[in-house]
């Protein structure tokens, strides 16, 4: 199948090599030095190339889902595409959850899947799955590479697509014969006709936005994951601080704006602060930056920012006016657009927000996040606060999904972007440990911790093998309530306390599990031990697992019940909550 070599040979860099070698070569051209995966029949030729490759560090995972989450963690902390790999059939289908997760949270990710040889495709061959078909709705794009000559261009295109515009995963489905056949093809000019993301905001829209900001009396910035991805944190900070505009973030936006700053209202939405939710309901101008107005953030659409005109900055035109109508839509890269708005604001007056900020201060007094150390039981919030105390500002915090995730969002103080790694849009239990592995490999010099749930941890616990083998230094705290806690909370509040399949009384001793894997384990039950155990675990140079046994009935408050408006939040402590309005 190879092109004739006569002219090509003359060209520099052209040499015959296997498709698999061309693939790995392409990864290196893209600067890949770390990837995550599991081998198998159809992908073996690629692993064979990696066997004596010295530049790419392949991390073998315990499960392909783990490989995707590790790649996600790696991407989130580095900003570079995460790369994962699996064999055909079950290997490829095991990638699906992580691909959907990365798609929802806009992460750049390349997934390479082996495929049965081209002449067997469609015959239900051993370990054949239509990977392209299966992953179509959960990726930005995917390729079935049918010709080894296409490998170099396809790899180049895949990296370009996943990491530009709005990032989202790209899958490369590579049949075994394509890996094994030889080719002398090299990458050419990048040419993707139907794809040209727009990075610059329209000047007229920028002016309009600046005008609205100048005129606003109750402006509010709502920053999200898009601001993190585009590295717009300095611009968002300038916009807020130069103009005295308060800032709230979505779950994915944690760290874009320092939560210890007086203009920070922290997170809004279902488990956002009371003051952020009051502010968004009362504001007259909402500046959405890299947010997609997800229902967990907006609550009932009818009462979301009902008095506000909306400026919406997003690189993805299809997000504009999808959920919330934008009065001033600006399609572009958040960093550029907000930078331009800052520029435009220099010729204008800052809005007069003094009385607005006073009102917000009152709300801060009135609706603080609270918990009470009331009985013998350890409180999850306390553990997280202590962890916050004992770790540096640039510590990377990973989580699973559930109550512990929300407590982690509420009770740890985020001050830097790319220090928060979680599953937002998909809400994937089990993401915590593998994301932690990817995060640590991406940021080896930073402290990395994981705040996990008992149910979540159990879903990907096998990745402890990976952590031990790779000698990774991180601390994972299981907020253990012996429940699918978030489900238990909903059952208590909305299902007449009918606790269907949410209690987990027979969980193993996680400290012993950790030790059995070769990690270190602690069991933490008493408040007075918290500091010591955390210190010891943080100190230990290797994977540390703390099984923190907490009050099983502690609920996450504030809470906006699903389907309610953001101003109808329930405040509370412990298991007790009361409606505000």
């Amino acid at each position: 199948m190879s092109k004739s070599t006569s002219d090509a040979d003359a060209e520099e860099g052209r040499r015959e090599r296997k498709g698999a070698e061309a693939l790995v070569e392409g990864l290196k051209q893209e600067g890949v030095d770390t990837m995550f995966g599991i081998t198998g029949g159809a992908i073996m030729p690629v692993y064979d190339v990696l066997y004596d490759d010295e530049d790419v560090d392949h991390v073998m995972m315990g499960h392909e889902q783990g490989a995707t989450h590790a790649a996600e963690g790696y991407n989130t902390v580095t900003g570079r595409p995460g790369v994962c790999m699996a064999t055909s059939g079950p290997g490829a289908t095991n990638l699906v959850t992580g691909l959907a997760d990365a798609d929802m949270d806009s992460r750049a990710l390349i997934a390479i899947a082996g495929q049965v040889p081209t002449d067997m495709i469609g015959n239900d061959a051993f370990q054949e799955t239509d990977t392209r078909g299966v992953t179509m709705p959960i990726t930005k794009h995917n390729y079935l590479i049918k010709d080894e000559d296409d490998v170099p261009d396809t790899v180049q295109e895949a990296f370009y697509i996943t990491s530009t515009g709005r990032p989202s995963p790209v899958v490369l489905d590579v049949p075994k014969d394509v890996s094994k056949n030889t080719t002398d093809a090299v990458r050419g000019e990048l040419d993707v006709e139907g794809y040209s993301p727009n990075y610059e905001g329209h000047p007229r829209q920028i002016e309009k936005a600046a005008e609205k900001i100048e005129e606003a009396e109750k402006p509010l910035i709502f920053a999200g994951g898009g601001a993190v991805i585009s590295e717009a944190s300095p611009e968002v900070r300038e916009l807020a601080m130069e103009n005295d505009i308060p800032v709230t973030t979505s779950l994915m936006g944690l760290g874009v704006f320092p939560e210890d700053h007086e203009l920070s209202l922290e997170m809004l939405g279902m488990h956002g602060t009371g003051y952020a939710n009051r502010a968004v309901t009362e504001c007259d101008l909402l500046v959405g930056i890299g947010v997609r107005f997800d229902d967990r953030a907006t609550g009932k659409i009818e009462s979301f920012a009902p008095k506000a005109e909306v400026i919406h900055v997003d690189i993805d035109p299809s997000e504009i006016s999808k959920n919330i109508h934008a009065n001033v839509p600006i399609v572009g890269d958040a960093k550029n657009v907000v930078g331009d708005i800052n520029e435009a604001m220099r010729d204008r007056d800052s809005p007069d927000t003094e009385s607005w900020l006073d009102t917000i201060d009152d709300w801060k007094q009135k609706y603080p996040n609270e918990y009470e150390q009331d009985g013998d039981d350890l409180k999850p919030q306390y553990v997280i606060e202590q962890l916050d105390e004992l770790t540096p500002d640039d510590t990377i915090v990973c989580t699973g999904v559930g109550q512990h995730q929300m407590w982690a969002a509420q009770w740890y103080t985020y001050t830097e972007p790319r220090t928060w790694v979680t599953s937002g849009g998909l809400g994937t239990m089990g993401c915590g440990l593998p994301m932690t592995i990817g995060a640590k490999l991406g940021a080896p010099d930073q402290e990395v911790v994981c705040i996990d749930g008992d149910g979540s941890f159990l879903m990907t616990v096998q990745e402890l093998t990976t952590a031990v083998r790779e000698e990774l230094d991180f601390t994972l705290v299981i907020i253990n309530n012996y429940y699918m806690g978030m489900v238990r909370q909903w059952q208590e509040l909305f299902h007449d306390e009918r606790y269907a399949e949410s209690d987990l009384p027979h969980l193993p001793r996680f400290d012993e599990i950790a030790e059995a894997f070769g990690a270190r384990g602690w069991r933490l039950e008493d408040e007075e031990d918290v500091e010591d155990v955390l210190e010891e675990a943080l100190e230990y140079d290797g994977p540390s697992v703390i099984d923190a046994i907490i009050d099983p009935y502690e609920n996450v408050f504030p809470m906006v019940p699903a389907g309610s408006g953001n101003d109808e939040f329930i405040m509370g402590k412990g298991s007790q909550g009361s409606r505000i309005s």
Partner: protein, 188 residues
Amino acid sequence: MSTDTPARRLPTGVREEEVPRAVDENEHTLSVLVENKPGVLSRVAGLFTRRSFNIDSLAVGETENPDYSRMTIVVTGDDPTVEQVMKQLNTLIPVIKVSNLTDDESVDRELAMVKVAASPEDRNEIMQIAETFRADIVDMGRDTVVIEASGDTEKVEALFDMLRQYGIKETVRTGRISLVRGEKSTED
């Protein structure tokens, strides 16, 4: 700035006072230029399913340039929905251009075949109807005729209406295809 405005949004995310009129549903003809590559039709069709948009009809074929195909997709929806459809189509990498031809001066055609019960007594009448619609009889059996008609949707519907009294046995339609009239190209 907005102290006494009504504090409510519609479920569409639009503030109430910003929508004076009721949203009405309309038929839109989208012309979608795509790369002529395997899997593209599946991506487009899958997107409609995934986002719960309805397709009234879809016709696809190669263009004057064999690297491209043109899809003509008829959708019914209010303006924001159709705008979302167009934006979502644009997120697909092999989609090169999406145009909404509804407001343009476009020529719309579809091809239909209809098999009608035609007893010897009715046959003449049926043939006359076909002629009036400039449709062709393409098959004639003992008790049926097959008529081929092309035209815009209204014409095809009108023909079907006329033939219904004799008993329509089967119909098949290609779905609408559209091009912009005059110098302008469909992609402008």
